[in-house]
């Protein structure tokens, strides 16, 4: 805290700098709005291309329905009770699995990253487990737990805990030992060192891991639903795909699943920017 006061610049200098910054941010803002317009134009052109490809008969509508029809089906889906409940089931399973994953990954990661011996003892073990697809355990877990939320949770946590775990271990392990010693010198207790030094300095790493885990978890939940059947978006897409009479509906359901993935990514990014605004400021400064 004291440091900030000392480093704080006098008001006049501050004002000068802020005008400087205003002119400096004008260009990036223009650039970001141009990027937005280009993105919109690109998406519209892509949609138009898809529409034309089918309307002109280049691609059979049996494989690729006109883009407008897919969009119409997206709206149609949101009027269907069974689809909305599938969406809810997937979202609920994802959220629960995600929370469990983060809690396990971060706490285990902190424990393993803090102790040098634990770090070295688990590195080989983790290297061995990491490339193995947890999804391969779906049939086994299905036998044990049956079709339902528990199976999705177990498989998803097993598969998506790794990114948070690695990044937490790496972040905690990389904390400057000097900073930790310094905090000890200033009579911080061990828990205080953890919450005020270790976690803040490891948090950017942890955040990246959490974001990765969030997307892996969604893939995993959808996969379990697809393989096990029952409820959820994966099962819904599998069923309408198998009946095979409405290709546009399959496309539409996949589009909604993609939107869900996009929304989750976006939410993660938003939270990350909010929570770690201080980090970006220090990088700028």
């Amino acid at each position: 805290m004291k440091e900030n006061v000392e480093l704080g610049t006098p008001p006049t200098a501050e004002r000068e700098r802020s005008t400087d910054r205003a002119s400096a941010t004008a260009a990036p803002r223009r650039r970001s709005s141009r990027r937005l317009w280009r993105g919109v134009a690109g998406a519209l052109a892509f949609g138009l291309l898809l529409e034309l490809v089918t309307r002109s008969g280049l691609v059979s509508a049996r494989f690729l329905p006109p883009f407008s029809e897919i969009v119409a089906n997206v709206f149609l889906l949101f009027g269907r009770e069974d689809f909305l409940s599938a969406l809810g089931v997937t979202l609920g399973a994802w959220l629960l699995a995600f929370v469990i994953t983060v809690v396990i990954g971060v706490s285990l990661g902190v424990a393993l990253g803090l102790s040098d011996l634990a770090y070295r003892m688990t590195r080989t073990l983790i290297d061995i487990i990491r490339p193995l697809p947890a999804i391969a355990m779906i049939p086994l877990i299905l036998l044990i737990l049956g079709r339902g939320l528990e199976t999705a949770l177990v498989v998803t946590v097993l598969g998506s805990v790794w990114p948070v775990l690695f990044n937490t271990i790496a972040g905690v392990h990389d904390v400057d030992p000097l900073a930790k010693q310094m905090a000890r010198v200033f009579a911080y207790t061990r828990p205080q060192v953890l919450t005020r030094v270790v976690l803040p300095s490891a948090s950017p790493f942890i955040a990246v891991g959490i974001r990765l885990s969030a997307s892996v978890a969604l893939i995993s939940v959808v996969t379990v639903e697809l393989i096990a059947g029952g409820s959820g978006l994966g099962a819904f897409i599998g069923t309408i795909g198998a009946t095979g009479n409405s290709v546009a509906l399959v496309y539409a359901a996949i589009v909604v699943t993609g939107l869900l993935g996009l929304a989750i990514n976006f939410a993660m990014e938003l939270v990350q920017n909010r929570v770690f605004a201080w980090q970006q400021r220090t990088v700028e400064g």
């Binding site: 141009r34 990027r35 280009r38 993105g39 919109v40 134009a41 690109g42 998406a43 052109a45 892509f46 494989f63 011996l117 070295r120 003892m121 688990t122 590195r123 080989t124 073990l125 061995i128 990491r130 490339p131 193995l132 697809p133 999804i135 391969a136 355990m137 779906i138 049939p139 086994l140 299905l142 036998l143 044990i144 997307s215 969604l218 893939i219 939940v221 959808v222 996969t223 697809l226 393989i227 994966g234 897409i237 599998g238 309408i240 795909g241 198998a242 095979g244 290709v247 399959v250 496309y251 359901a253 996949i254 589009v255 699943t257 993609g258 939107l259 993935g261 996009l262 989750i264 990514n265």
Partner: protein, 283 residues
């Protein structure tokens, strides 16, 4: 130099060597100790509790060795049926991975080279890669039927995104001066890409390839779970339906071996290709 001096130097050298060896040995013990310990613990618990779903690891290993060498003398006692199942999965993984990586590289270079192209295309790519790719299997079945091309196309589609993102990031991080210099010397565009852009982006491309390979293994298994007549994933599901728990574990171990093997090979290739990169970083 007197004899005693040489002797002393030699002693010191062997002492240092010995210490290095013992520290490396300790590293191996610390690293592998927990792995072996866990396997033994699993064995102990499974035997004492008679766990149905988690058979003792030694029993799984025995099943694996027994069925792998249950062939006749003509094939060196190897079980060819089993190997052909592994081969089917391996072919899908490698083909899907290769197609996906090549496509991903091309797209990544295109997006990374021109900021303008990136601006137009990025939202579409962000959306497409946000789709949990396993959700597209039913669509691939509609488009390509139950053929192996369906599985290969699905694997390629699913693992290409990791390569696209990493390649684009790698290409974007190239020093602009380098490309300007090449333009100044009138190096033709294709040559620029092959000789400057790709090598400079190679470390990032490999980061993407590593993730993509692991993903390719995963997605091949999912595609075989969903619809297949052979392959490792198919065998896992078959053993589940017949309630052959040990066999199911055996196939999971086979899958693990395939995953480790492919990772190790890629790691080796990366070491060769990126040797210059590591050397330049050391300097």
């Amino acid at each position: 130099m007197t004899d005693t001096q040489t002797q002393a130097i030699r002693n010191a050298a062997t002492e240092a060597e010995r210490r290095a060896l013992s520290s490396r040995l300790r590293g191996v013990v610390i690293g592998w100790g927990p792995v072996i310990g866990l396997i033994l613990l699993w064995q102990l618990l499974a035997v004492s509790a008679g766990a149905v779903f988690f058979p003792p690891p030694f029993q799984i290993a025995e099943t694996l060795v027994d069925s792998l060498f249950s062939g006749d003398a003509g094939t060196a006692f190897l079980n060819m049926d089993m190997l052909s199942e592994v081969g089917a999965s391996l072919a899908r993984i490698l083909l899907g991975f290769a197609l996906g990586s090549i496509g991903g590289c091309i797209l990544g270079v295109l997006i990374g080279l021109s900021r303008q192209t990136g601006d137009y295309v990025n939202p579409i790519i962000d959306f497409l890669r946000s789709i949990p790719s396993t959700a597209t299997i039913p669509l691939f079945i509609i488009l390509l039927g139950g053929s192996d091309w369906m599985r290969v196309a699905f694997i390629a589609w699913s693992c290409s995104w990791f390569v696209v993102i990493n390649t684009a990031a790698g290409v974007r991080s190239i020093e602009p001066g380098m490309l300007e210099m090449a333009r100044l010397f009138r190096v033709p565009r294709p040559r620029q890409i092959v000789r400057i852009v790709l090598p400079a982006a190679m470390p990032q491309i490999f980061a993407g390839l590593r993730v993509a390979l692991t993903a390719a293994v995963l997605f091949s298994v999912v595609s075989e779970f969903y619809l297949a007549v052979n392959g490792i994933g198919f065998q896992i599901v078959q053993s589940q339906r017949r309630f052959h728990i040990e066999e199911m574990w055996m196939w999971m171990v086979v899958l693990a071996v395939v995953a480790w093997g492919l990772n190790a090979i890629l790691h080796e290739i990366e070491g060769h290709v990126l040797r210059w990169h590591k050397e330049s970083k050391q300097r």
